[in-house]
Subunit: 417 residues, 2 copies
Amino acid sequence: MSEYREVIDKAKSVKERSRSLGLIKPEDKNAALLSIACALEEQAPSILEANSIDMEGAKKSGMNLQLQDRLRLTEDRIKAMAEGVRQVAGLEDPVGRIMDEWTRPNGLLIRKVSVPMGVIAMIYEARPNVTVDAAVLALKAGSGIILRGSGSALETNKKLVRVMKGALKGTVIDPGCMELIEEKSHDAVNQLMGLTEYLDLIIPRGGADLIRNVVQNSRVPVLETGVGNCHVFVDETADPEMAGKIILNAKTQRPSVCNACESLLIHEDWLPNAKDILEKLIRAGVKIHSDQRIRELVPEADPATDDDWGREYLGLEISVKTVGSLDEAIEHINRYGTHHTECIVTEDAESAERFLKEVDAAAVNWNASTRFTDGFEFGFGAEIGISTQKMHARGPLGLKEITSYKYMVKGNGQVRG
Amino acid sequence: MSEYREVIDKAKSVKERSRSLGLIKPEDKNAALLSIACALEEQAPSILEANSIDMEGAKKSGMNLQLQDRLRLTEDRIKAMAEGVRQVAGLEDPVGRIMDEWTRPNGLLIRKVSVPMGVIAMIYEARPNVTVDAAVLALKAGSGIILRGSGSALETNKKLVRVMKGALKGTVIDPGCMELIEEKSHDAVNQLMGLTEYLDLIIPRGGADLIRNVVQNSRVPVLETGVGNCHVFVDETADPEMAGKIILNAKTQRPSVCNACESLLIHEDWLPNAKDILEKLIRAGVKIHSDQRIRELVPEADPATDDDWGREYLGLEISVKTVGSLDEAIEHINRYGTHHTECIVTEDAESAERFLKEVDAAAVNWNASTRFTDGFEFGFGAEIGISTQKMHARGPLGLKEITSYKYMVKGNGQVRG
């Protein structure tokens, strides 16, 4: 593996520069973040220029249109980015919260206080808005940030980071708390994942391959985000209208995201109600992969293979399976799900309670679309990703979720007997 | 690397068997744990017999006396283990707690509820009491447990696990939720660290080498425990009597543990008070490694090398350094500390506040011995280790700290617009 001086130097420098970030007063920190928002808007023309270089490269290299769309910036998108920064600046400060406090019989006062993680590295793909989102969220949470986006977005990211660093000059936040890794080689990512001395946390954000690579190879602790094979289970007592609305929303409102529904389980006793929603899905352009009983209702459906139960389509496709019972649904979901978001539609409170307890996922929904698993929809005001692991934080990752804590212990000379 | 069927089979089986552990009623779970306590006492003779085989092996192999003492079981130690189990059974159930709850403007009720981690693997050294502690804490927290102790304790551990599994027969806890890895080869540990499919968490407990190996090589998320290069900083305004009491306690009350003091920093303006406590340390058998100014006070002290500042002696040795200011003390600790427990002795509240905020450690103590960083002393009622990492949980790891959470979302047909 090649080693890059750039990677070590930047990680080390961010570690040092960001040490005192947690001590900055909230109002000063927010003022610094607001100056990032202004700078993004003011320098929109030069950001668009840098972006056009990346877009040209993307077209030349034959990047697919969906990815091109993610890479593309517009005046409106830059405005939205700046607006996002202002929202983050306005959120409650996640550092220095007293999370718990108690006094021991010997008089020791123990206080659990939130503190920054330290240095967070974000490894992501072509969306340049992640560059700004991640940097601002990390800084607000008192952490330094190392950014490593896709090579295809390098010119845009370089410009965005230059603009943000420029905006921080003269504020309480040292611009050196933020660095972009410019080295395009994949070895730069491998190297980052070994820098336990300088990095406290790595958050991968992107496709399944990127996430798997980081989770499997990082020595730095990881917050695993994003892969969502989310199910909607329609129980025998489900209200047909409600079920239809939830399924259509969960599948088609934004099919490319991780909290979209990828698999539909239908209780066999509910099958008589199923034809209508299945046809609605087909009319909405959704390709159905299903078992035999579903295909009897909608002959347009393809036969599902075992692969389909585990697929995250991220598009207008869905697997549909008939199940004989709540137990079968729970078992199927715990086997094929990715611990992201799972939904039951039912009028039966007892079935709902069992589903919510027994299904192993970050979010378990009763009569609500899977699409709600999101930092904004949860009311966190921001989101750096959605965790599908059990350690540290599960589900939407807002500001609180990217902090740590320490115990402050106050005594008057206590010793242990 | 050799692969062992035993390791995969046991990990897979514990994953399956422990799935519904989180659903057991607390009173039934506690009854099952109490039957473990009884069985340990009833079967003490056969446990002691197994232990004597390990002890014989230890003597033959020339194991040092301190390690032999850790390995040795006695009737009293078995009683203490059983008592520990009873205490854990009596603790508040950590699963199913509503940690937070709120309603969104659209009517969604979001509830954050504690849930089991899943399967926890414990990798540890020669102390057989860890076998029982870890198993009972994991089960109480609703998780399956894979135990991998030292080869030198294998007969004892086999017996302890057999006794515990026997006690669980006929209770609500499936004895298959607990397995001991018997393969002695180190490759068995390497294999465990790759089983992301079956293990949710690995906790290493033991010496620095063991912990480093797990932290650096595990793909399964790790809770790093234990290495403690803990400092006491005596500020210029420290009360001499209090400082003396705290230093003596932190260094000598139990020098072999991770929260013992390993390094003493003395403000230069306090040096006139220092001779007394330094001589007390020497009289208590403590070897001092120090800078020149300290050696002028106690000529018995050895010169400290740069290595000494980073050493965890785990015995009757201490490094002592003069510092010119609070800033120098904080900087030194943040450079050489292991983020475990750091103490300031001072009468100056402002210095104390700065120290508590700026020192990066799981516990920061003002006028209290470092020895208090402990699950029992914190009032958690139990402890599976002390975390020195920032992710997930920091400091003493009680029952709550080895659980995860999920969001239960209740709606009445909400979809996302």
